[in-house]
């Protein structure tokens, strides 16, 4: 979905201090918003050339053909908290800058997968949540400058209630074409359910007030095929390759705006503007090609590295991301995993003297996990930390650019069972 289209739908803003409702989607400017799978998450998602368990359905379906047993896997983001801070987004009447924060916290099962032998190959079914955000916050700012000459904002109340989830679920099938080559495919049904509710109440120093309420909802339905290849050119080395793209077949966007502006902007006592807009325009998704290499020097040690390329789509730039991961067994019962990954923005760098530009924040993440194995099961506890910096324009119709910092910590638990 184009950012511009959202802006056109949303902004009736009459006071330029009004903070944008940001974006409708949880993070439409990045492609790696979740790391599903207990083992893959610990390795920074560098899993394209590993993928030999149920999470391979998501990362590289060719890998499940190499799984050693029927297996069920589940991972849960036990707790995710992320903070996006816009530096000096507001200015107090004293001239001092004031940051604006968007906070999200969520507990969600983000992966479930099961694989088992079927005919000459391995069949799988998986469910992966690739985007999840839940913001429920109330903020009050006092003594803020406004764009109206001679008038300040005594009190600015913002209430936010956002929920955005992107679900992928569907079957996979993989088959070995030889000792060192396998192919596989996953066909995900894609569903996105997004809702934004924002309430803004501004009390001006001249006794007037401005109240705005926005309600937006987006529902998308589509298919996401993933085709994968896994190959071992030499002993202990594995190469993986996948290609995928999401195709929408239905999209339903609804937006409501209710505004009661101040009298100085021509609003009467009972004069409330109400506008509803709808759109069924389907956004385009990039073609994703991913390449991975993994090195298995011993049964206790594994190194892997991935490169991901996302093509240009509509107004979004092409993106190259990467990840590296390692797995080390302290004993046959305990494994440690570590990973690093990039999650770069698909937007261009911001230009001066322009307004309403999408933000550009490049994220970098690190992961760490520990797994305890019993006879047929495994239990993992891990954490993902993501840090990003960049620029944004959170004040609608203003050329001001703010520095942005993103901090996100996810604690996840996962489990697997062979049967």
């Amino acid at each position: 979905m184009k950012k511009q289209r959202l802006n056109n739908l949303l902004f009736f803003t009459i006071i330029s201090i009004m903070i944008q409702p940001s974006v409708l989607l949880a993070d439409e400017y990045h492609y790696i918003n979740s790391l599903p799978g207990e083992r893959a998450a610990g390795m920074g998602g560098a899993y394209i050339a590993v993928s030999d368990d149920p999470s391979g359905c998501f990362y590289n379906p060719a890998g499940i053909a190499l799984a050693s047993a029927r297996r069920l896997s589940i991972s849960v983001n036990a707790y995710n908290i992320s903070t996006k801070t816009y530096k000096d987004a507001l200015h107090k009447t004293t001239g001092e800058g004031e940051d604006w924060e968007l906070r999200s916290s969520r507990l969600i099962p983000n992966f479930f997968g099961v694989i088992q032998r079927f005919g000459p190959g391995i069949i799988g079914f998986s469910y992966a949540v690739t985007d999840f955000t839940s913001r429920d916050q109330e903020q009050v700012f006092r003594d803020i400058r406004s764009a109206i000459p001679g008038v300040n904002i005594d009190r600015y109340v913002i209430n936010i209630d956002d929920v955005d989830n992107a679900y992928n679920f569907g079957p996979s099938y993989a088959i070995k074409l030889g000792d060192n080559l396998s192919v596989g495919a996953t066909l995900y049904f894609y569903h996105r359910d997004s809702k934004i509710i924002r309430n803004h109440l501004i009390n001006l120093s001249n006794g007037e007030f401005n109240w705005e309420n926005y309600y937006l909802s987006l529902k998308e339905y589509g298919l996401r095929p993933i085709i994968g290849l896994m190959f071992s050119p030499v002993d202990k080395i594995s190469l993986g390759f996948t290609i995928s793209r999401t195709f929408l077949f239905d999209s339903d966007l609804r937006a409501q705006a209710t505004i009661r502006g101040p009298a100085s902007f021509g609003y009467g006592l009972n004069d409330v503007k109400f506008e509803v807009r709808e759109s069924s325009e389907k956004r385009s998704f990039p073609l994703e090609t991913k390449f991975g290499v993994a090195y298995f020097p011993s049964p206790s040690f594994l190194l892997s590295g991935d490169l991901y390329y996302y093509t240009r789509v509509e107004n979004y730039e092409p993106v190259l991301n990467g990840a590296i991961g390692a797995e080390y067994y302290l004993s046959p019962s305990i494994a440690m995993r570590f990973g690093l990954f990039t999650d770069r923005a698909n937007t261009p760098y911001l230009k001066r003297d322009r307004i309403n530009q999408p933000e550009h924040v490049d994220n970098y993440g690190t992961t760490l996990s520990i797994t305890y194995f019993t006879r047929n099961s495994s239990l993992t506890l891990g954490a993902i930390y993501t840090y990003g910096t960049g620029e944004a324009q959170v004040i609608s119709n203003s050329p001001a650019i703010q520095e942005v910092r993103i901090d996100s910590i996810t604690v996840f638990v996962g489990g697997g069972y062979s049967f």
Partner: protein, 285 residues
């Protein structure tokens, strides 16, 4: 500011991926995917828990009862103590200190030796008659000890516990109090009995036990060719057919032991034979 990145050129990215695909289909050499197996997935891992060891001992006791149902135990206290002396000396250097090994003599002229999981080992009276010194006896007992330390029966009957078996793990055989668990337990005892008296161990398991026994002989201080000499005698005297068809060809075993001894510089290495003691304790009977 415009982003600079060579991979942002779709053509270069396409070339990169085509090169990968080309490499994929050009390399034709074949490699097993075993290197993917993690240490937690290796074959012997599922049998390491305390419950598994207890279960293995109970299972072995039951299987021993079946063996004794086929051949009675020779009631000779002195000889049994002697066999236990030699066997326990060998087992001191075995890889499973958690197992207490017990040795018995079967009152039959059949030439064979048997082992049951959990440390139960039997040698036949017929076999003892062919042995000429204590090193040979130790070699035969070492071979059976190796079957236990390497969990050959355990692995074979529970090979698919993490794949196709309806029960998960060896311990659940014992722990399950349900009727179905008892049926499964009996079925697995039948399978183990079949391995001992009809099917035999896998060839690689037999060869592995021979080499481990040879190593045990050397580490215990016996003549490391004890087992080799006994097998050669069996072969020379044409006793292969008397071994109930449960072992691979003697020729292969002899050659494998010779190669192993040569490779590990055991050939010609001197060790105790204890012929006199063997004759005093065993041959005098």
């Amino acid at each position: 500011m415009k982003r600079k990145a060579i991979f942002y050129t779709p053509i270069l990215w396409l070339i990169f991926n085509l090169a990968f695909l080309f490499a994929t289909f050009t390399f034709t050499s074949s490699y097993a995917s075993d290197f993917r197996k993690r240490i937690s997935q290796l074959d012997d891992y599922p049998y390491r828990t305390e419950d598994d060891i207890k279960a293995e001992i109970i299972f072995g006791r039951e299987l021993s009862a079946r063996i004794l149902g086929r051949y009675p135990l020779l009631k000779d206290k002195t000889l049994t103590e002697y066999i236990n002396l030699v066997g326990k000396a060998m087992s001191q250097h075995a890889a499973r200190p958690e197992i207490e090994f017990r040795f018995g003599i079967l009152d039959t002229d059949t030439i064979n030796a048997f082992s049951a999981p959990g440390g139960y080992i039997f040698i036949t009276k017929g076999c003892l008659k062919l042995i000429e010194d204590e090193a040979e006896l130790a070699g035969i007992l070492g071979h059976e000890i190796a079957h236990i330390t390497e969990r050959h029966i355990v692995k074979e009957i529970n090979l698919k516990a993490t794949d196709e078996s309806p029960i998960s793990g060896f311990a659940s055989l014992i722990a399950g109090a349900t009727g179905s668990a008892e049926v499964v337990f009996t079925t697995f005892i039948d399978k183990a009995y079949e391995i001992l008296f009809e099917r035999g161990y896998k060839k690689e398991d037999e060869l592995s036990s021979d080499t481990i026994a040879t190593t045990l002989l050397a580490t215990t201080g016996y003549d490391s060719s004890g087992l080799l000499r006994f097998l050669k005698r069996l072969s020379e005297k044409g006793h292969e057919k008397d071994m109930e068809g449960t072992h691979p060809g003697l020729e292969n075993r002899i050659r494998a032991i010779e190669e192993y001894m040569e490779k590990n510089q055991l050939t010609g290495k001197e060790g105790a034979l204890l012929k006199e003691r063997f004759y005093e304790k065993a041959k005098a009977k």
